[in-house]
Symmetry: C2
DNA sequence: GCGGTTTACGCAATCGATTGCGCAGTTGTC
DNA sequence: GACAACTGCGCAATCGATTGCGTAAACCGC
């Protein structure tokens, strides 16, 4: 009964001119009254607002967006460059996305999630041009470095989740991946481990930095890196498990693993256990992220914690500063090592 | 250098009339050429499309949305009725959202995430009227039943994640919560447990159905429900932990717990352990959802698995059928019990 | 070579709200 | 009482693409 007003019998949606007619004013006045424009006296404003509420009138956002060239919407864009699978339901992405969404919606903006299945050099330019959002957050720096640089040349409200890379001109926010890798490896070394594997997709910029930190720590301890201990592994799928299994089958000796994610770490531990090795008795393992799994798994995972809420808050803060016309520099946020059972202190 | 074309020196975005002028045709022709309209001969079409590509032209979506009254966008809306916290970063919601987003983006639609911080009876009507999306998925049936019914009276492309309730006129999709509760409780009873707690927020419709299943199973075994064993607990926070702790402190005896979520189950297990009880030796525990945590926790959680990909696929399928003008009935998807350590078979 | 059909494309209205400018009418000042 | 300033509000242009209708040119058959 109440809703009848929202969609009158005609089936036609109530629009601004309808309210104007009923109120006996022009649509300009209605527009200004609803926007709390000060040139409309309070009495008129209240009357019109009451009328609009009563008739269930809501501003047509498509029309407003067109006229104002802005949308009160922030887009989170995901290029699916090398990952052919469905990236959106990936837990890591979702965790970051959740915090981003919280931050954005607190600022009363809506969130548009856009997935680009076939990114080329111009996908971001196209997206930006389409006027679907006022600002953009890109998750998936990976192989998009050039496309990002291209788009950032003349488009400002754009922030990228990722590492700061040498020749980048866009604004990025991410964890201190180098220090994370260094911390993790240093911890393993200090606890007496000497033959430490690196497991992860080093072709991704953020992961490559973790690998750099791994190398640094090993060097700092006066050791040298055995390149055959640097193993490629994907975040999902069996590659990490298989890599460890194969190594054990070949009789290679090692006593520590630094994995580029908690998921990879858990896969590795499972591979160790099926080969009869114990973690941490025989092999200590350190993960990365401090995902929900890390504290619940068995053994609980020693891991490098990324500050997701902080990262999301920083990304969104930078983005809104850029919307206000400010410039912002890339940020690198600190990480810290969370000690649990899989790589105890000693 | 390439991107110069995307935003010409003037700073003004390329628009359709620009392409039209360059191509020596009218904007109508450009519009139709880009839309692969058959009345435009292939040669002209190709020329115009090439020109558009070369100049980095992209259709302004705000203008198109206004003219066509459609947006190629599905909104996922979250009313934050009783939960004052930030619901979006909640893992349960994100998991469902991820699968929804995968399904929607596969259909080449964008996803708009809208959070309504202060839902009243008309929030959905307002949202629908605002023309920001072509269809709506509502997550958070909880205390919104009346608002949903109100909106569904005359708005069709709307699907709700939740249970089928007695007087509902909207289309909902959800798990068979009743059967889940029955299965979980029946399993505990069959394995010899007799004094079984229910832990969960029974004020939510979906949870209340799980409680009904719990009662049914107990009745089926010829026992009667001890109402003091039905305990309120929230999904987050310490309420589940505290409830179990208090019960143990009062010396109440029990040997089984059916928790309305995996998170609640894990809280309960932690409370048991800090009181010196063992799970499953002293108390068997069954959770709900089969979240990522369930298989990794220690002890691994016996739980009722909800088919998230299936739920998401069904929701989106129903929604698109409704967009095509079809009617759809509410769906209830099967659940199944996953046996792990926290409540073994015997 | 002529009527009729088809082809190719342009004109102008339209979607619905926003906003610069300007006009009445009122108030204020000396 | 004359002129200026201000108040309250409407006119009409505008945002940029889409689309129904119309028309000129090309084409066809006989």
């Amino acid at each position: 009964m109440e809703l009848e007003k929202v969609r009158p019998k005609s089936g036609r949606a109530v629009k601004m001119t309808d309210i104007a007619r009923i109120a006996g004013v022009s649509s300009s006045t209605v527009s200004r009254a609803l926007a709390d424009h000060p040139t409309i006296p309070e009495a008129t404003r209240n009357t019109i607002q009451a009328l609009a509420r009563e008739h269930g009138y809501v501003v047509n956002r498509a029309a407003r967006n067109l006229r104002q060239s802005q949308t009160q919407t922030i887009a989170v864009a995901v290029p699916l460059g090398h990952e052919r699978e469905q990236l959106i339901s990936d837990p890591f992405f979702l965790r970051l996305f959740g915090h981003l969404a919280d931050e954005i919606s607190q600022r009363r903006y809506d969130i548009l999630l856009v997935r680009e299945p076939s990114p080329d050099a111009h996908w971001l330019g196209r997206l930006v041009q389409s006027q679907r959002a006022d600002g953009f957050i890109i998750v998936g720096q990976s192989d998009q470095h050039q496309a990002l640089n291209l788009a950032a040349r003349d488009y400002r409200p754009l922030v990228v989740f990722g590492s700061e890379l040498p020749d980048q001109i866009y604004c990025s926010v991410g964890s201190d991946n180098f220090e994370g890798g260094r911390l993790a490896t240093d911890h393993l070394l200090r606890s007496g481990r000497r033959r430490i594997l690196f497991l992860g997709p080093a072709e991704l910029p953020q992961i490559d930095l973790r690998l750099d930190g791994y190398r640094q720590a090993i060097g700092d301890h006066g050791l040298s890196v055995d390149e055959s201990f640097v193993l490629p592994a994907h975040f999902t799928g069996p590659s990490a498990h298989d890599a460890v299994r194969d190594l054990l089958a070949r009789g290679v000796e090692f006593d520590g693993i630094f994995a580029a994610s908690d998921g990879i770490a858990l896969s590795a531990i499972r591979a160790l256990e099926s080969a009869g090795k114990r973690c941490p008795a025989d092999v200590s393992v350190v993960g990365f992220d401090d995902s929900d799994l890390a504290s619940q798994s068995h053994p609980a995972l020693t891991t490098v914690r990324q500050d997701f809420p902080g990262i999301a808050a920083t990304i969104v803060d930078h983005l809104f500063r850029r919307l206000d016309g400010e410039g912002t520099y890339s940020s690198t946020l600190p990480v810290n090592l969370v000690l649990r059972e899989s790589a105890p202190d000693r």
